[in-house]
């Protein structure tokens, strides 16, 4: 390595002079001159037992280019990143950085070549300052003294240059998630990143923060950096990237410039079939009798404060009641009360006129309430059990899974095979551990289990959060079909589009109360938006 990034920066990873090694790169790389390839992957293959995670994946990105890797959950994006950053070694294929072949044995090797990654889950020491985090574990020089002021100045300069305002002296715990992400990016830039990989960076950001990030990304590209942007969100890929490489089932399908494509095309390439981003048409039905009824229900939240206040609602057979509201206004508590996971302080819940015992999940299940929880991994499934076992998580008590007094593994596996087929669950087999599946497939397992008990009520909390386009589409279809079959469906969602697309009626929550219930046909967005903000 070089003697000092701060002073001369003559090494391969820190090519520039000045506090921040930026000037050495062509400032107008995005201009008309022929671009040099910053990174090129040729037919990279990575196998895991039973699965080819990356199958001859190729892509190339020029200096100063923002290149998006787009794919569904499980398409191989994460594996490809881990290959690029030296965490995995490819079984086959070649990687070129700056035109030279490279072979990484560790993330450090990749960093020496200028490849840095900003993970979805940030890796910062909370009790240390921004400047300390930036230099932590990085010792390119032989000098023993750490000069906080120099680092702080350098960080502040870069922060200004790339429009990523952050106070270098602030401690990480004082920062918002968006600011922390900026620290991660600055850290990579400080260490001489030429190629920056951002792994689904907008997941933790508010829409405003995301906008800000996009403009920083453009600034970095303008300064000759290559940004690899991983995402499964089409609008942001279209707005931020120059080129998109689409991954599907471990293969790189194609690379297209964003200028000549649109969301429908990309969605089609990503999912491998024609998808329409238009609404799933919902046939308006004559509502059936009231099945689920809440009368004056109140309950406390996790911190002991009242989170639900005298909620009165009814859901009819065959309809979807959408629960809209800004997150944290009692929607989660509402779903948990109905599922018996949270005791009430007053009021009652009835299904078909029969009272549901308070705070008893088993009684709720027995009376016919199915529940798809918001916290899929933590509550909805037992991650280290197999798919087959997770599919009988609620039905193992029944006669169908037994042989005499014992549980029948054969019936369990047979049941799993049927469900895998019926719900199109992509998995090596029924005995695969469920935590190895992608988010969409886990959600399918959950829905398969909840619906296989022939419920009278289905409560689905944020059922499509974090899912890719294909899986979202699928889950929405299942919800609509469930309602058509006469189940009373209650769907909690923060996504207004989803609410409008699926619901027959919309109940808006604010501060633990139902602000109003409107029929979707008569509702408009402004009205719902106002109600969500507390106006009745």
């Amino acid at each position: 390595m070089t003697d000092s990034v701060l002073d001369t920066g003559a090494g391969p990873a820190a090519p520039a002079a000045g506090a921040f090694p930026v000037a050495g790169l062509p400032a107008d790389a995005s201009g008309g001159s022929p671009k040099t390839l910053a990174i090129e992957a040729i037919e990279m293959t990575k196998r895991f037992p039973g699965v080819v995670a990356n199958d001859r994946v190729s892509f190339a990105a020029a200096e100063g280019e923002v290149h998006a890797l787009l794919g569904e959950n499980g398409a191989g994006k994460t594996t490809l990143c881990n290959l690029l950053m030296g965490l995995y070694r490819p079984d086959e294929g070649k990687l070129f950085v700056g035109g030279k072949p490279v072979r990484f044995h560790s993330p450090r090797d990749a960093q020496d070549a200028g490849i840095f990654m900003v993970h979805q889950h940030l890796r910062l020491v909370e009790s240390m300052t921004v400047a300390e985090n930036v230099v932590l574990g990085w010792s390119p020089s032989r000098q023993l003294r750490f000069s906080p002021r120099k680092v702080e100045t350098a960080v502040a300069e870069a922060a200004e240059r790339f429009q990523m305002p952050v106070d270098p002296k602030a401690r990480i715990w004082q920062l918002s998630l968006g600011e922390r992400q900026r620290v991660e990016i600055l850290k990579a830039l400080y260490r001489g990143a030429k190629i920056l990989i951002l792994d689904e960076p907008t997941t933790v950001l508010t829409p405003q923060e995301a906008e800000q990030l996009f403009s920083s990304v453009h600034d970095m590209a303008g300064a000759g950096r290559t940004v690899i942007f991983i995402s499964h969100k089409l609008p942001e890929v279209l707005s931020v990237a120059d080129c998109v490489t689409i991954l599907r089932q471990g293969r790189s399908i194609t690379t297209v410039p964003t200028a000549g494509t649109d969301a429908d095309d990309l969605a089609g390439l990503m999912v491998g079939r024609e998808v329409s981003l238009e609404a799933t048409t919902k046939v308006p039905d004559v509502p059936g009798p009231v099945v689920l009824e809440l009368t004056g229900v109140s309950a406390r939240g996790d911190l002991g404060a009242e989170a639900l206040r005298e909620v009165t609602l009814e859901v009819h057979a065959g309809e979807i009641l959408g629960i809209a509201g800004v997150s944290g206004n009692g929607q989660r508590e509402l779903a948990e009360v109905i599922a018996g996971l949270r005791p009430t302080t007053q009021g009652q819940v009835t299904v078909g006129g029969k009272q549901v015992p308070d705070g008893d999940p088993r009684a709720a299940i027995d009376i016919g309430i199915a529940y798809v929880p918001e916290d899929r991994m933590g509550t909805g499934i037992s991650p280290n059990l197999t798919i087959a076992e997770n599919l009988v998580l609620k039905s193992y008590r029944g006669k169908n899974m037994r042989r005499g007094p014992l549980l029948s593994t054969r019936k369990e596996i047979a049941n799993a095979k049927v469900m895998i087929e019926r719900f199109d669950i992509r998995a090596p087999g029924p005995r695969t551990l469920i935590r190895q599946l992608s988010g969409g497939n886990i959600q399918k397992v959950l829905l398969a289990r909840e619906l296989s008990s022939d419920p009278r009520v289905l409560v689905a909390a944020s059922p499509t959060r974090g899912l890719d386009v294909g899986a979202t589409q699928y889950v929405r279809g299942i919800l609509a079909e469930t309602a058509r079959n006469g189940v009373a469906v209650m769907m909690v969602s923060e996504d207004l589009d989803e609410i409008f697309e699926l619901s027959d009626r919309i109940a808006v929550f604010y501060n633990g109360r139902v602000v109003g219930v409107v029929s979707t046909a008569e509702a408009n967005r402004q009205q719902i938006g106002l109600m969500m903000a507390g106006a009745s």
């Binding site: 196998r47 895991f48 037992p49 039973g50 699965v51 080819v52 995670a53 199958d55 959950n73 499980g74 398409a75 191989g76 994006k77 994460t78 594996t79 070694r89 079984d91 086959e92 044995h105 560790s106 090797d109 089932q249 471990g250 293969r251 599922a339 996971l341 999940p361 088993r362 709720a364 299940i365 529940y371 929880p373 916290d375 933590g378 509550t379 909805g380 499934i381 037992s382 991650p383 280290n384 059990l385 076992e389 998580l393 609620k394 193992y396 008590r397 037994r402 007094p405 014992l406 549980l407 593994t409 992509r426 998995a427 090596p428 695969t432 190895q436 599946l437 992608s438 969409g440 497939n441």
Partner: protein, 382 residues
């Protein structure tokens, strides 16, 4: 970080490896201990031969190995069963004491019952006492969310003091006050001869009844864990208590019942100490043996598998037996403990290493070959 080897996590471990690794680990431990023996001026081969003879071939050696193995079998099952559900019952030691107290009380009170009934009563008496003792940390855990590791551990000391109190510091029912010397050298009351459990004797070799009982229990526990609803609920609870609650499992009752079974097994260890071997409540002997704590080691080495507990208890029992036989002026007393420690270290270390695949860097993966298309089309990797 860089080196000639590459280490990757295995997604699934082949079956043969699960058996081969522990065996290889024990050999590795033998090699390490061999070096230790050489360093202390012993010939490893003669020492190993001596150990083998002292625990297996010598006159009465095998019988005595079983004597040591029997309590470890029970306490090993006690720990293995509770640990399966991530309920960390460290209280096997105290539950064993209380089991011994309960079994000796039953044996003393019901001394005039017919022998089979008396023996069954002793087993149940010990199991019941152990259960009750285990329910204290269980109730605290289920309803007040205290950490059962701490409470069950501390209750071991309480149980120990209680046992001493019964024999040394009080005129309790358990203490022998009939002879004049009894106040100077306090002992417990001896049980009637019909309260001693029959062993299975083949020539000069005797298997204690407790061991046979323990093997039966191990088989039953394995069945319970593997193929009943009860075992399924344990697996869900151990993996994710939230998911268990969500799926309608009564989680509090589950903790109480698993701790009851676990404590009951440790209680039977106490029964067996009274019925099979001691025939008298002997606080000092029980405390020095530390079978409850050894049971945790046995359970860990057996990877919480009840049937493996049977084998491991014999192995550790044999080692303990050999250790007592070897101890002498020229042989360091701590060496047996060291060997047990090294075995634990290598077996658990081997278990972790078995989850990884180690290979050379620059070798082309020709053995993997072209994967069939059907394999590639899975959504499992991400």
């Amino acid at each position: 970080m860089t080196g000639p080897f590459k280490i990757e996590r295995r997604l699934d471990t082949p079956k043969w490896l699960k058996v081969a690794v522990p065996i290889a680990s024990i050999f590795l431990a033998a090699i390490i201990v061999g070096i230790l023996l050489l360093a202390t001026g012993h010939n490893p081969f003669t020492t190993y031969h001596q150990m083998y003879s002292a625990s297996v071939t010598a006159d009465g050696a095998l019988s005595s190995t079983f004597v040591y193995a029997t309590p470890m079998l029970f306490t090993g099952l006690c720990a293995a069963f509770a640990f399966r559900m991530r309920t960390w019952n460290i209280g096997g030691e105290g539950q064993l004491y209380m089991g011994a107290v309960g079994a000796s009380a039953t044996g003393l009170v019901l001394g005039d019952w017919p022998r089979p009934l008396l023996i069954i009563a002793m087993i149940l008496g010990g199991a019941f006492a152990g259960m009750l003792w285990a329910e204290i940390p269980a109730l605290l855990r289920a309803y007040l969310r205290t950490n059962e590791i701490l409470t069950s551990l501390m209750l071991n000391y309480v149980a120990g003091f209680f046992m001493y109190y019964l024999i040394y510091d009080s005129d309790s029912y358990w203490r022998d006050l009939s002879t004049p010397g009894a106040s100077v050298f306090p002992t417990g009351k001896s049980l009637v001869p019909s309260a001693s459990w029959p062993g299975i004797t083949i020539g000069s070799f005797t298997i204690p009844m407790g061991f046979v009982l323990g093997v039966g229990l191990a088989v039953a526990l394995l069945g319970l864990i593997r193929s009943t609803r009860y075992g399924f609920e344990m697996r869900v609870m151990g993996d994710s208590p939230q998911a268990a609650n969500y799926s309608g499992i009564r989680t509090k009752r589950k903790i109480l019942s698993v701790m009851a079974i676990s404590g009951g097994i440790a209680g039977i260890a106490g029964s067996s100490q009274i019925g099979d071997f001691g025939h008298v409540l002997d606080p000092r002997g029980l405390e020095q043996a530390q079978y409850g704590y050894t049971g945790i080691v046995v359970a860990a080495l057996a990877l919480y598998n009840p049937l493996a507990v049977v084998l491991v208890s014999l192995l550790i029992g044999g080692l303990t037996n050999a250790g007592f036989a070897l101890e002498g002026p020229s042989f360091p007393t701590g060496l047996v403990g060291t060997m047990e420690g090294i075995i634990l270290f290598t077996v658990l270390g081997g278990e972790i290493l078995a989850r990884y695949r180690i290979g050379l860097h620059h070798r082309a993966p020709t053995t993997v070959g072209q994967a069939p298309a059907s394999v590639t089309a899975t959504g499992a990797a991400s």
